[in-house]
Amino acid sequence: MNRRDFFRVVTASGATAAVTGCQRTAENILPLVVPNEQLVPGVAAWFATVCRECPAGCGVIAKNREGRVVKLEGNPDHPVSQGALCARGQAALQGLYHPDRFAGPLLRDGATLTPASWDAAQKVVADKIAALRSAGKGQAIALVTQLETSSLGALLDKWTQVLGTRPRVTFEPFGYEATRAANRATFGRDAIPHYAFEDAQVVLSFGADFLETWLSNVSYARAFARMHAFRDGRAGTFIHIEPRQSLTASNADAWVRNAPGTEGLLALAILRVMVDAGLADRRFAEVVTGINVKKAAADSDVPVETIRHVAEVFAHGKPGLAVGGGMAVTGTNATPTLVAINLLNLAAGNVGKTVRFGPDSGFGKVTPYAEVARLIQAMVRGEIEVLLLGSGVNPAYTLPGGLRFTDALKKVGLVVSFANQPDETTALAHVVLPDTHWLESWGDYAPREGVVGLMQPTTAPVRDSRPIGDTVLAMGRAVLGSEEGKGPLPWATLEQYLKVAWAPVVKDEWAAALRLGGVWKETAPVAVNARVAPVDAAPPTLEGDADGLTLLAYPSFRFYDGRGASRAWLQETPDTMTQAVWDPWVEIAVETAAKLGIAQGDVVRLTSPYGSIELPAYVSPTLHPRAVAVPIGHRYAPYHTPRYVTAPAGSRNPVALLGAAAESASGGPAYLGVRVRLAKTGARRPLAILQATHDQQGRELAQHVDLGAAREQALRGKPEHEEYFSMYPDQKYPGYRWGMAIDVDACVGCQACVVACQAENNVPIVGRAQAAYGRQLQWIRIERWAEGNPGHPTNLFLPMLCQHCEVAPCEPVCPVFAAYRTEEGLNGQVYNRCVGTRYCGNNCPYHVRRFNWFQYEFPAPLDVQLNPDVTVRQLGVMEKCTMCIQRIIAGKDHARDAKRAVRDGDILTACQQTCPTRAITFGNLKDAQSAMVRFAHSSRAYHVLEEIGTRPSVTYLKKVVREHA
């Protein structure tokens, strides 16, 4: 029996586990026809695979219950994710169970796509290809896919060769072409190295948003936490240079706001200061002779002292690490800028230490944007007659407006899309051959040299879809007229090809490799020869009005290039900096807003030479006044509207404003390439912002301590604490007493915990209007508290969830004991007992209790994702964080099976499990040896609103602020 059938049978049995409502009608229980060793109904089975929500390629494990995937977690054995997973990865389930997924192949019939059989749809494509081939026009066939580093890529390349088509184009909107070009120039190596953040003492980032989307955000966030966390009185330093206070910038010990496009100037100025101060090798003197620090300071809007200070801190950190990237570092000067950054790394002696060539990133295999642009030009000339677009590729949305992709596509006779849900490109396609979701697919993926993750189906296909590999093989054979097992394309399926390809690697260890999630080995750094030469990193040339504002179009950490946007979980997860959900916005500096009379929520029209978009304004006190910033990737899936949000007409995609030109040195796109004009439209569309204010009003919710003081306290211990006094006897805990420690210093505000919690605990989506009105349901939220100068604040990220107070204000007010304190120190919330008086919600000083204002729906098939261990709440009941009581029960159950007590680390809450920086620790407060208790007794420990006397079980650790970073 093959795997897919096997899942299908189990799925049939799983269908009995109804999850919502309390129906009392007779229901059927379907037993398996054939028993299955791996899947026991009621017991989770875990399958390792690779996350394909972005090209970072994190290893994940999928939790399968009764044949249905219900939760994703980072694969703890995988070297990239190391057990963590970001918000986008967590939300991949919503792609799998997306209500808009195509039910099967589609063929265009006039204006609409109509369902067709696989045979018919494939035949249309195969016939066309065959016709072109026989006419000798193989070059009129083009295949564009997302980054496929391993077997699938190889198979597709083989396919293009066999059929004599154009070479495959690997299209990634964020391809890091300039980094490759700079490394080519400096090190003679066309590659993106591995950056060892964890080994650095000082990280100097020029716009590289490595905590959001840059290269491999989970892996780098974890490494960053290791480097930056306060441990034994020491902590690394992180300096970030960017015109906008991004999430990454707000995690920096020092954020330097520069004028857009001046990163290269600054890098060279820093190098100049280092050389002048004797902190760098003399051979760098020649490359910086032409650099005037004062002029660079004036051009970049950064004070000279700051440049000197940054240089000093960077030079003294041994080793340090300078990274550059992000969308502000694209455009006409991208390669010189990155060369300058390379020089900094060279000068500080970081290459080979923290900048490691050898374990090169898979991003090196991306086809440069310039070639994609050439393909589009060929389309415009009518040279392309068949265009095959793999899933994950949505050029109609992600290609710059200046390229006029949509017009070009109209010249193509047959556009074939393998996307499995509708997007801007499938709307223009002639044939849709839906690819399976990656959670349903075989495959492999190498995020970097030496690490190859194996992908396996973790569930039966939710909709009638086929792996792209299988489809092209079938079509290829049809074109060639060959049979399975024969000819140049003998493999029946991608699975077969994969197993053949892997046979020499894994030999007999196939099952073990599958279980582990892939094969990885240490890849030694490769020595590189550097070429030190002067570089001109003058600010980029920008198109558009000279007096316009520089447009910073940057990828949203929630949606990447728009791939994640169809996931409602991500839409409802707030952007940490603005705390806005659903709608995109244009970030406008206060100065600009005041000048133009723009208030927050005013709809503003942005016009560039290539188009215009309309977005509500977010007035930012931190943005550089010469810039406006718009996140990329905000789009709505059909089922979102009007169920959750009403989408205004017109484009809101900032990429549409960009020009087509590629940077000459690297062939990369210019996300920093245009100036835009702003105009008020007169309309208003207030943003759905969850946080009322970023000002703590002195309430010390998120606390911080200076590094010096933290060192002092770490040595001497915490100052004495006022003893708690009560007229009532203390509660006794016969068994465990659960608690949590959250390190505010480690939290980077990535929101992964929010989505993990949503997935684990069946938290519904409420939609834009409801969320804006304080009715969002997430059990955990990341608050951003800004301290100090509003224009240049220190941001503190505070994950706030139920504090499980020992003297909980919510409990005694409940008339029916729906809220009560368990014997294990949790605040229990019994949904079926709850009457909905909401008294507890009022009385909770933290306002972490959530109320089911309506009967929230889980549009099919999203309901299949629901965690069977957690009740789906009815309308009118209160809910809140349970500290994953279902995981606690499972953990205790396993411990009892092993006839022992629960040990530290046996139970991980969903938020803790997914946290890339390990900011959250759960454990038994009665176990003095547990990591949680050590945190709770740390000198940095405090409780939020301690003075109320609620005695929370959640302890926070103060953020450590570097006073002179």
Partner: protein
């Protein structure tokens, strides 16, 4: 208004005048009834929608998980208090002027409590499980949480409703007997049933009088306790602006204040339309006016105390909450409340105002508005600006909760309008008691 007894009515006059109020009503009455019924229907439709679609139909949110419904709940409970005060406390104090209004006031109490009692149900997210709050033996072995102020509410309000009703019915029995004996036909049969065979025999009166006195002495502490318990819904909570030991007396006083206003609102039209000027005289209005004035002044004192204790407490969060209430989004509601409750009753320092039905009516309406907003100001702004700045927010009423609150007034007036046409809205017996007893030998009776 018959002028046959311009000086002092006789016992027979009283019986006749009261019986007259129960004559078949005219078009004006039915007109009002249908208006009220229509509004009530709209309220019921709104409630039905809320049950069907969920609590989200009302304007509640985080942080204002309580809003219009609890405001109205406290408002109506407060209204009820004046009735019990008049019927029980003033009875114990032998305040004879109460007799002409106490029946109407008592009915108002019961209907107000019946209205108030709806609101916890309307407010509950799953009202169909509201019975979980009752202590009844169940298969779950689970009882209510007697530490919860809401369970205290259940006990206090159900006791209050029961005792008020019992007190009311006990007071009605001799009156219905009197009506029975002057009416005929089906009315007589119904009254005969309700009168329980009351004859006014000495053996009945002696137990009746004793029981009535005992009920009055039970109702007196009860009326003080009920609003104290209601105030503890707030005072027991942590919310800044709620967590105050002042609340019990503050609420009780406010309750009586608003209750008297409602009594006037009900009694003045009754006096006008039924021509009861003989029984509800200027001195009655004057006494009511004085009570409103006094309770209003006491309330003003409590407002000042509230502000003073907050400012003096040194609690920054409390102070921030107060400052916000006084100056920000909801300031209009606060200042409206201060005007209605503190300033508008001051006109009653003038006797002319106290005896003018028009002035009294206007002041009463202002007081009711002010007292509704007092509860609103306690609930909505306090919650909107409490401990946690992340969730601070502004509450906007929705059509549903607005309609339900308006509907509750309709429900109350519907009950009252129905009552005055089927039951004696003036106490026959007690009014007779206040008259000089008929004496043949006038000199003989003079020492009373």
């Amino acid at each position: 208004m018959s002028d046959s007894h311009a000086t002092s009515p006789t016992f027979a006059d009283v019986t006749r005048d009261v019986a007259r109020t129960l004559a078949p009503p005219g078009n004006l009455y039915f007109g009002w009834m249908s208006v009220v019924a229509l509004i009530l229907t709209a309220g019921i439709v709104a409630w039905t929608g809320q049950i069907w679609w969920g609590m989200g139909m009302a304007g509640k949110r985080v942080p204002q998980m309580w809003a219009m419904y609890i405001t109205s709940f406290v408002f109506w409970i407060g209204i009820g208090h004046a009735g019990t005060l008049i019927s029980a406390i003033l009875y114990l104090f032998r305040a004879r002027w109460r007799t002409s209004i106490y029946r109407a006031a008592e009915a108002m109490t019961i209907f107000a409590v019946m209205t108030a009692g709806l609101f916890p149900l309307i407010h509950a997210g799953r009202m169909w499980f509201a019975y979980y709050l009752l202590p009844y033996p169940n298969q779950r072995d689970l009882w209510p949480n007697f530490r919860s102020p809401l369970v205290w509410d259940v006990f206090a309000i159900s006791t209050y409703l029961s005792i008020s009703t019992v007190f009311f019915i006990v007071g009605l029995v001799p009156d219905i007997a009197a009506l029975r004996d002057v009416s005929s036909g089906w009315r007589r049969r119904i009254y005969a049933m309700l009168a329980l065979g009351w004859e006014g025999a000495d053996s009945q009166w002696r137990h009746y009088r004793r029981a009535y006195g005992l009920l009055a002495s039970l109702a007196t502490p009860l009326v003080l306790s009920v609003h104290s318990v209601v105030s503890w819904d707030f005072a027991m909570a942590l919310v800044p602006g709620w967590h105050s030991t002042l609340f019990a007396p503050f609420f009780v006083d406010g309750a009586i204040f608003s209750g008297f206003a409602m009594v006037l609102i009900l009694v003045l039209p009754m006096r006008h339309f039924f021509g009861l000027h003989t029984y509800i005289q200027e001195k009655h209005l004057d006494a009511m006016g004085k009570l409103i004035l006094v309770t209003g002044l006491v309330l003003t004192y409590f407002y000042l105390c509230e502000i003073f204790t907050t400012l003096y407490s040194g609690d920054d969060i409390d102070k921030a909450s107060l400052f916000w209430k006084v100056t920000k989004t909801y300031a209009w509601a606060l200042w409206l409340m201060y005007f209605c409750n503190c300033v508008s009753p001051l006109i009653l320092f003038w006797k002319a105002a106290r005896t003018s039905p028009v002035v009294l009516y206007v002041v009463s309406i202002l007081v009711l508005i002010g007292m509704w907003f007092e509860r609103f100001n306690i609930i909505v702004p306090s919650l909107g600006h409490d401990f946690y700045p992340y969730t601070w927010g502004i509450f906007y009423p929705s059509p549903t909760d607005t309609m339900i609150v308006i509907g509750s007034f309709a429900w109350f007036f519907l009950l009252f309008l129905g009552f005055i046409r089927v039951m004696p809205s003036l106490s026959v017996v007690e009014v007779k008691e206040t008259l000089p007893p008929p004496m043949k030998d006038k000199a003989h009776g003079s020492h009373h």
